[in-house]
């Protein structure tokens, strides 16, 4: 069975400082992993995806994530936060039928 745990419900950073959003997964299948972002009253937008190629995945807007099988983690990072990054971020694992299992989300607050 697949599941996702996002370890922080809220993260607050100052503009220009690094961002780390943590995600651990459980999968009985070689997983595909995704990070999506949701701005208020907007649809979910894909940031990046991992599908068993390079373990370091680069996404849009300067975000990247590293797949660590030994730690069953897929943490999202960005070197320098921007005010426009304030949103809710969801880690997702999919199964062999492309069924998505979402984490409970992490709300990122960026302080000026």
């Amino acid at each position: 069975a697949q599941s996702v745990t996002q370890l922080d419900s809220h993260v607050s950073v100052s503009e220009g400082t690094p961002v780390l959003l943590r995600c651990n997964y459980s999968s009985s299948y070689s997983p595909s992993l995704f990070w999506y972002v949701q701005h208020p009253n907007k649809g979910l937008q894909l940031l990046l995806k991992y599908t068993s190629a390079a373990t370091l995945v680069k996404g849009i807007n300067g975000f990247e994530a590293e797949f660590k099988k030994s730690e069953t983690s897929f943490h999202l990072t960005k070197p320098s936060a921007h005010m426009s990054d304030a949103a809710e971020y969801f880690c997702v694992v999919s199964d062999e039928f492309n069924k998505f299992y979402f984490g409970s989300g992490t709300k990122l607050n960026v302080k000026p």
């Binding site: 996702v4 995806k49 492309n98 998505f100 984490g103 989300g105």
Partner: protein, 114 residues
């Protein structure tokens, strides 16, 4: 390329009334999904279609929720009768049928049941 279209964007109804949501996926996407996102939670899959057939509806409360995808394109999700706990955002997504493929989401319909 046009994205996933959903309507209406907002709906307010009273409990025990019925409501329907509509979704038009990205052209050529064989797989369509309906999710329920309750405030403060991640989206939860309600039903998954492959073309016009149901792949997974294990989380759909079938006593009150129904969905169809006639002709394998547009889809409607209906709730009848609605309960207070159905207040949520209903998201539609579509993907190519390839495993591990990206799901593209619509903006959602925000339902308030009073």
């Amino acid at each position: 390329e046009a994205g996933v279209a959903q309507s209406p964007r907002y709906k307010i109804i009273e409990k025990r009334q019925s409501v329907a949501f509509w979704c038009n996926p990205i052209s050529g996407h064989a797989t369509l999904y309906w999710y329920q996102q309750i405030l403060g939670q991640g989206p939860k899959l309600l039903i998954q279609f492959q073309n016009n057939g149901v792949v997974d509806d294990s989380q759909l409360p079938k006593d009150r929720f129904s969905a169809e995808r006639l002709k394998g394109v547009d889809s409607t999700l209906k709730i009848q009768p609605a309960k207070l706990e159905d207040s949520a955002v209903y998201l539609c997504a579509s993907s190519l049928e390839i495993v591990g493929n990206i799901q593209y989401f619509g903006a959602g319909t925000r339902l308030s049941v009073l």
